[in-house]
Symmetry: D2
Subunit: 283 residues, 4 copies
């Protein structure tokens, strides 16, 4: 069942819901999901609305044009998506392959409906897994002195493949501002701690040294500032004094996989609306 | 800020959201919350919409009349509430007072906005707590042979107080069908297990004997069938072989308090929509 | 670092800990883990003690003989294990392969230290995965009329491989009493519900129909009685009215994998002590 | 049933468990709880052992003397407690009274077995609650210029009452090094965040601004460094974009109460062993 999805944000005011719902109804759309949220502090209105295209009287090309006057009237920022347009995801990874493997498994199982045609790594470790799943693999080592050049290579490959979203599945390289700007709001990272605690390097080791009783994982948008982007999803698991550092790593792996895969699934389903340094999650 | 709330369910069809949103907008209402859900299996549409009454051009009396044609057109079951009409809650309790005490505390703290003018018990234990909080207390002992008569007394008291909701906060008596019918969809119970596991008597003891590694608590609507009504909220906590039965009771108390208070809060905020043996929770 | 492990249970009485600790100390053993538990209701003492074999003055053959007088004195049931004797695990599976795949992945990653040399199934679906991981695969279809004969074939294969533990990783066949007796306390199952709720067939469907707000998974020893064996590990995850049956299945898969892998890991580390219909978990 | 408890830590070496268990056994003690832990990184051994005093052949006065040679031999730091010596707890609080109220409730319910004879506050708000529970209340306002003097007053009162443990149940004052030194390892705080995230002022507001998807609470020993002491217990709860700051505060209150009460219970049961900036929790 093909659907259209509108993600909307604008200053809160009267009549938004009615206008959007009328827009869908007047062209004979059947709403299958609608949710809205108002951030009173920011006086901002957020909406996600999804309707079936069967019997819808506007063609895909006409929808955006027809919606524009409404968007203009309310000062909306908006995006229009179609559910049959499969998202193309590139996965970046370094040497820890559990998140990569988990994402590929879930995509194959149909739990994350998208294409995953590309794996890029600064190490060769993922080559075998890429081959096993029949996915293009590019090893692009990064050194301090060649980072910009290598990122240009990455961007060429990403463009050639028509990539819509980059998932950093334990990719231990900081992306430059130039790179991030090209894929603004289109890069998701998994950080293996309960951010903002233990940002940066070796979060499990930091957590172990600190003696916390719970560890976490965080999936977030990548911005210029390391581990500072808007948080999409987090989860935690209990540990005890009996857990050595290696136990934290082992228990954390399960968390990382679950948290990252939830975030990617939400993104693919267009259920995330970023605003400022926060996110609205339409679940 | 006074608001009106509509809770709606009807067969799913096109135009419902638009019609309801237009209804609010055309009389100059400002929507502060709107959420909907479609149960595809049951082909049923559910909606909760809340808007401010400030500047709303219809008086409270006119709202229901004006909405009726829409409701009729779509075959809606619907309820209209006003947020400044404080709900009157009676709490039934036997000898375990922790849930009673917790509810009173939360009501006083402003976390559950309602009136709690009445406590009814088949035992005298809660009398002191009732006095401390300045609440009417009725001890109405129940025996097999006087249950119907005593329930009639209870109903008289409930009616005299204008009670809207009965909360069974560990009230260890089974209500008759006649009683439940009078307060249909207006009685909430806390059961100290993860239903449907361990229904009936002594759930902690059942859980202990079974050797489960997790215990739970369940808040649900009361129906004729014991511990079978639609579930509103559940939560769980981990236990281990080290936990004696008394530890299960102690850990479970925290769960019971949290689960019951969440359910009561959801009810007071009109965020629960019962259908069949299930609930939609608009959080 | 090779270690010996003693798992002990006996009537509670004075001097047990001292006797066991002295036994280890007098032969120059270094205790790396010791934990005990007393079930006061059952007046039973449980202990797990693990010590390094480096510098231990008794040979492996002598340990059991030397320990026997202590065991006899206190009326102990006991088992002796050596950590360098890798456990051989056979995995039984039907058509859902996520738990199988997860176990193999964790074994490869070194998170579960054991051998997994055998996969048995009543369906052909796992053949590819077995080949991929280089593991012996036997497809043994089960019909009502050939079950006993097929189980005899299974037992032959299990014996030939020297299997120590059978893991039912979503194996949808009920084992006969005869089969279970051969591998008493050596068969672990994953059931995709929070037992004792939703035992038997289609637990996700049962949970969906019931309208629970939380689903669970349970790993337990297999006994004659279906889904009734002693529970080893459980976990739960929150769901909502928005979750269709397929979402319960998807969310449940993560639970199943985590719960089963924890149980297998505990078994491999000899941290489970079964008594009656319960377990002591020495974590 | 009166018991003695030994809490022990020392460099790891052979024979510790045997020596301690023998000590108890030889004087006819019955061990009711024994647990140990080895931190391999720190090469340190930790033990908690509890035995009944009924039939124990040493008087309380003799136990410490008799144990000293063992302690000396292994270089132990150790403490000896008797379960019938009720701990005296002073609660410090400012204006948020939910943790205070919860602790008093649990003490009354017998869930935390101790005396709570004293409440100290820099504000008058808790006076009513103190009166209600029949507890001594001292309002001691703190200003920058009188802090040392007021702390001296506090110390006098604490000494006069024979206080063993200070619980900061949302006491919004930083204690001086001098004060902390007097009650070293005897002050427990609740911080309303998942430390080390959001230390310092207004953690809920910090969490709200950051847009985290989970909030937490942390109970820890108080040291000189604000919110930096060894962590005893933590827990977390999920939030969403729908939660306003006031919802974080409300949900957090439940966490704070549970986390602080668990920590106090563990302390009262002598199940916490601090070492460096960490804790071993013998549950």
């Amino acid at each position: 069942m093909n659907c259209a999805i509108l993600l909307i944000s604008c200053p809160d005011q009267k009549g938004i819901t009615a206008s959007v719902a009328n827009f869908v109804f007047q062209s004979n759309g059947n709403i299958v999901h609608a949710d809205q949220h108002i951030d009173e502090q920011a006086n901002t209105f957020f909406m996600r609305i999804e309707w079936t295209l069967t019997d819808f009287s506007l063609s895909r090309e006409e929808i955006a044009r027809a919606f524009s006057p409404i968007a203009e009237k309310f000062g909306m920022k908006w995006d229009l998506f179609f559910t049959d347009k499969s998202l193309k995801i590139a996965i970046f990874v370094s040497r820890h392959l559990h998140c990569l493997h988990d994402l590929l498994y879930r995509q194959r199982a149909g739990h994350i409906v998208c294409d995953m045609p590309l794996i890029i790594s600064n190490h060769p470790d993922a080559r075998g897994m890429a081959r096993e799943f029949g996915i293009d693999f590019h090893e692009i080592p990064i050194l301090r002195e060649n980072k910009e050049e290598q990122e240009r290579r990455q961007l060429e490959i990403l463009e050639a493949k028509g990539i819509d979203l980059i998932v950093l599945a334990r990719y231990h390289q900081i992306l430059t501002k130039q790179f991030v700007d090209v894929f603004a709001d289109k890069i998701i990272n998994i950080h293996h701690s309960f951010l903002p605690a233990f940002a940066g390097r070796n979060p499990y080791s930091q957590a172990y040294q600190k003696g916390v009783k719970i560890i976490g994982a965080t999936s977030h948008y990548v911005t210029e500032a390391l581990d500072e982007g808007p948080i999409i999803e987090q989860d935690t698991v209990r540990i005890s004094h009996r857990d050595a550092l290696s136990d934290l790593v082992r228990k954390g792996e399960d968390l990382e996989k679950i948290v990252l895969s939830r975030a990617v699934r939400l993104y693919v389903q267009r259920k995330i609306l970023r605003y400022g340094n926060k996110t609205v999650i339409f679940d």
